[in-house]
């Protein structure tokens, strides 16, 4: 499991945050960041080999330490399960759908209308 520079840039963009600003806010040096980006895996090798031996994804071996992490982990597991069953599916679409389903329908609608307005302003 490697760190995705593209995903980080997308997430920064969605929050109107530059990469430099993010690193400053997180207290992560540029050197450390680019070192992590270059690594083939951010997980300790032992975790990957354990997962491989068990025939599961490394995520299955991780345990959340708080409620928020637990929810995030459960969401990622659901994304894995759903997207894993059909390689043609885009994992981001699945993740966003599952996240939206946690909200009330009216809030889902408001989000879609708000995002359209934001896009309009940016054009």
């Amino acid at each position: 499991m490697r760190l995705s520079g593209d995903n980080i840039k997308k997430l920064c963009g969605a929050r109107e945050l530059s990469l430099n600003a993010l690193l400053k806010r997180a207290g992560v040096s540029k050197t450390a960041y680019y070192h992590l980006i270059d690594k083939k895996s951010v997980l300790p090798r032992s975790i990957e080999t354990l997962a491989l031996a068990l025939g599961v994804r490394p995520l299955a071996l991780l345990e959340a330490t708080d409620r928020k992490s637990n929810r995030a982990l459960r969401l990622l597991e659901a994304v894995d399960r759903i997207a894993g069953s059909d390689p043609s599916m885009d994992r981001d679409n699945v993740r966003h759908t599952l996240l939206l389903l946690q909200e009330k329908p009216i809030d889902r609608l408001r989000r879609s209308l708000l995002r359209a307005r934001k896009l309009d302003l940016q054009q």
Partner: protein, 168 residues
């Protein structure tokens, strides 16, 4: 609810008034897809009316301070007025059956204090596959992924669904 909130009390009041006037309508297209969990954006909320001549629509508009602007030239019939400007009027859904037929493929969802019919995602996809405008082709993969995710998740409900015709 703050007045400047998008899709606020005034829009909900209009929908409630349509319901009170027994106007048969359902939400379709991107807004309906968003309600079902599709991560899409939309500029408007499309309302498919069974009969635009239903006097209940005019009554609901009067109550909400809106008007119906007749079609002229290339411009379709639209609503105007603060409470209704977010809504677009749909009279037919390309590639689909009549309103009465597609009503069986809808479900009911609660939007604030009002319950409205929403066309099922698979029917929205079917319509977009029939229209095939560039903007439909762009959004189709997202809608298909959402439908697959919903089916995989075996969601029994997103919101209480009351229509008997609800599939999946």
């Amino acid at each position: 609810m703050p007045e400047n909130l998008i899709f606020s009390n005034k829009e909900i009041a209009f929908l409630r008034e349509l319901e009170r006037q027994n106007v048969d309508f359902m939400l379709v297209d991107a807004a309906a897809a968003a309600l079902q969990g599709a991560p899409v954006v939309t500029q408007d909320v499309d309302l498919w009316f069974e009969d635009l001549k239903n006097p209940g629509i005019q009554a609901a508009l009067r109550k909400s301070g809106g008007i119906m602007v007749p079609s002229f030239g290339q411009n379709p019939v639209t609503f105007a007025g603060d409470a209704v400007k977010l809504f677009d009027i749909v009279l037919t859904m390309p590639g689909l059956g009549s309103f009465a037929e597609e009503k069986k493929n809808s479900f009911t969802v609660r939007l604030g204090s009002v319950r409205v019919k929403v066309l099922n995602l698979d029917r929205i996809i079917a319509s977009k596959e029939a229209i095939r405008r560039p903007k439909d082709l762009v959004v189709l993969p997202v809608l298909r992924d959402t439908l697959k995710a919903l089916r995989q998740k075996k969601l029994k409900k997103i919101e209480p669904r009351t229509s008997k015709g609800r599939k999946g």
